[in-house]
Symmetry: C2
Subunit: 412 residues, 2 copies
């Protein structure tokens, strides 16, 4: 039997009625001839409640106990989903992470899956069971303790199972009906993509399109797991949603697949830094140790051995960055004249594998923004992405203009 992995997020299993609706979709795939591995999240709100309990009990909690507590929501949904399927005469049973076992590292609260031996579940499929319902987000450490994979970890669970079981596809049911060319709240011209390449999805996921957890896309790319994102709230046929797949499956596509953005950015500049070897390490080492996620970095042209160093970071990490840098300065590890902070910026990016073979994409982006009178503060590029930092007030204008300029409302 071919195997299908189906993952249902928290809103898709938020009530017993929704679990029933999800179970019907599973039953349909069983009728289509699949053996199905279903990955479930906790009923929406449950994990937040448990995280709240832990935080209130112990602000600096032992992550091993955190995991033991917050993993329990998925166990409830897994059992209820199995019962619902049984009620529909679909042979099913639930598995908790440790029962499979989903073997992970011991990095509690953000563990990584190391292996999923498929034998136990395959044996049950061999005995006539049609659906294995697995509690997502959780696993077991080498020491036999419960681990969790971090927020959104159920997506990663689903992809890892699809890889371990060589599934034909991994369907991620969520509360949106696919991946869009940009956020439809910014422009009504946003269009749902039928297909998107792993690399593009990875850039979009890490740029803040919160459809899929970044790690799940990385894993899917690595193991060539075809991922489909679709809504659990609509009746959809086999071509519904968005397929995340290898680029060889995408015959025709726009040069740019989508416009992504990140609203809450900040920009910091250290002025008159000594331009000597090792200066970047001296600046960004302490920032990394302080847990600051530096994103874009620009070093200006050096004059008289001094340079300005500019970087961007999430706005809620500014205080931490300022503390780390002033401490480094006090310790004489780095020297600068001024530390300038701008918390009124955002980042807008265009993403597309087509850029690799098309020249002039970045130039077209810059001229489009110029025509709108938008000043670009920092630029970074990768093979399939161009990102620019700008004043936050221009975000909507920039996204709309770029969406139009690259013809994203039209299929290529």
């Amino acid at each position: 039997m071919p195997i299908l992995v189906m993952k249902f997020g928290g809103t898709s299993v938020a009530t017993l009625d929704r679990i029933r609706r999800a179970a019907k979709r599973v039953g349909r795939e069983v009728a289509n001839g699949y053996d199905v591995v279903v990955i479930v999240s906790a009923m929406s709100g449950e994990t937040n409640k448990l995280v709240g309990y832990v935080g209130e009990t112990s602000p600096l909690y032992d992550a091993r106990e955190y995991d033991a507590v917050v993993s329990s929501g998925e166990n409830v949904t897994a059992g209820l989903m199995a019962l619902t399927l049984q009620e529909m005469d679909v042979p099913a049973r639930s598995w908790q992470g440790w029962q499979v076992p989903v073997q992970t590292t011991d990095a509690h609260a953000s563990a990584r899956i190391e292996a999923i031996p498929p034998e136990n579940i395959l044996a049950k499929f061999g005995e006539g069971m049609k659906v294995a319902v697995v509690a997502g987000f959780q696993g077991i450490s080498p020491e036999g303790r419960i681990t969790t994979l971090g927020r959104g970890g159920s997506d990663t669970t689903a992809v890892a199972f699809a890889a371990a079981f060589e599934a034909e596809r991994c369907d991620i049911y969520t509360d949106v009906d696919g991946v869009y060319t940009t956020d439809p709240r910014i422009t009504s011209k946003a269009r749902k993509l039928d297909k998107i390449a792993f690399e593009e999805m990875l850039e979009l996921a890490s740029l803040g399109a919160k459809v899929l957890q970044t790690r799940s896309v990385e894993l899917a790319m690595r193991y060539k797991v075809r991922l489909r994102v679709l809504s659990s709230f609509e009746d959809n046929d086999d071509s519904a949603g968005t397929l995340v797949c290898g680029e060889e499956e995408i015959v025709e596509s726009n040069v740019v697949a989508g416009v992504a953005f990140s609203r809450d950015e900040a920009k910091m500049t250290l002025t008159e830094v000594a331009d000597r070897p090792g200066i970047a390490a001296a600046i960004f080492g302490p920032l990394s140790e302080a847990g600051v996620n530096v994103d874009m970095i620009v070093q200006n042209i050096s004059e008289k051995g001094l340079t300005d160093m500019t970087f961007s970071l999430p706005i809620d990490q500014v205080q931490r960055a300022e503390k780390a840098l002033s401490e480094a300065k006090a310790a004489d590890d780095i020297d600068y004249v001024e530390l300038l902070t701008d918390t009124d910026v955002c980042k807008v990016s265009i993403v597309g594998i087509g850029m690799r073979s098309h020249a002039g994409v970045a130039a077209k982006m810059f001229s489009t923004l110029r025509d709108e009178g938008i000043n670009i503060k920092v630029i970074t590029t990768s093979e399939i992405k161009v990102s620019v930092l700008m004043d936050r007030k221009y975000l909507e204008l920039a996204v709309q203009a770029l969406h139009d300029a690259f013809g994203l409302d039209q299929v290529a």
Copy 2:
């Protein structure tokens, strides 16, 4: 280090504040020099919520999935209790049933504990851990699936751990402050007992004094686990609550330890049954198969080869009993003229190990009831108990009169 088992029921861990209060008691015992095994129930209301989910999803549920779902409440409390203790600088960690492992039969939803290998937890005690917090009510079957022990099962978990760890004592923290000579709602003269023998507690537990699960008392008696019942809502010293122990520890005691009662009883009589060998089996076999818990049985003197057979049962099982008996009659397995049902009766019992060495206890009970004008319908006796069935309207009167007659408001 001597080991102590402390069990906290659902109301004792109903909120984070109450968990904190319970943790303080645990910390005090650690300061007293004990290594402590803490058994926790789910936060009150949680298990009912989960049982409700299961019942709504699948009225005739798969008990294996039921267990997977309803066991999750205890996991949450165990983790939170461990975190709370850590916040108080008491080295602690949580264990779920399968981690210990608590090995049970595969009788899902009412499994029995078969073994609790103490090695894992003892090793941690050896490394300096002071408290092992264990999720009560759950275990793991030989097939590696999660089991639960049935309602009130956390008491049984606690006693089983006390036996496996040869604990000095097993303290059951609950919402009452001990075992009383009778229900204080019936007579204000009811007195808390300092000590009670296992055998007496067993009779009281099965007679409806809902302080402890019957199976937990059986287990405590078998393994000579000293059980202490006390309130988690009062500050109490070491002599607080009621100690359930071997009778050799009870130096002085009243002949009668307590007056128990069961309010919702019914009495059924089959008239003119053929008095032949095997007739009792023919009647009570079908009742047992129908799940009817027959309690007291009286067979009248036989006249002309015919007899009347009377028995008592819980009132909510009357319909089931009537169905089973009429079916047995229709199948010619038994023959009777009339089936008389009286649903207005209750059972009142006196319990005490002193009865074994004191004559005239039953006679005194009967004369006390006679003096109050109470008619006795059925009598049963055991070595340490006399029970009588009477009209329900006499319940309070009978309990008060017996409590006075045996001087239960006075320490012996």
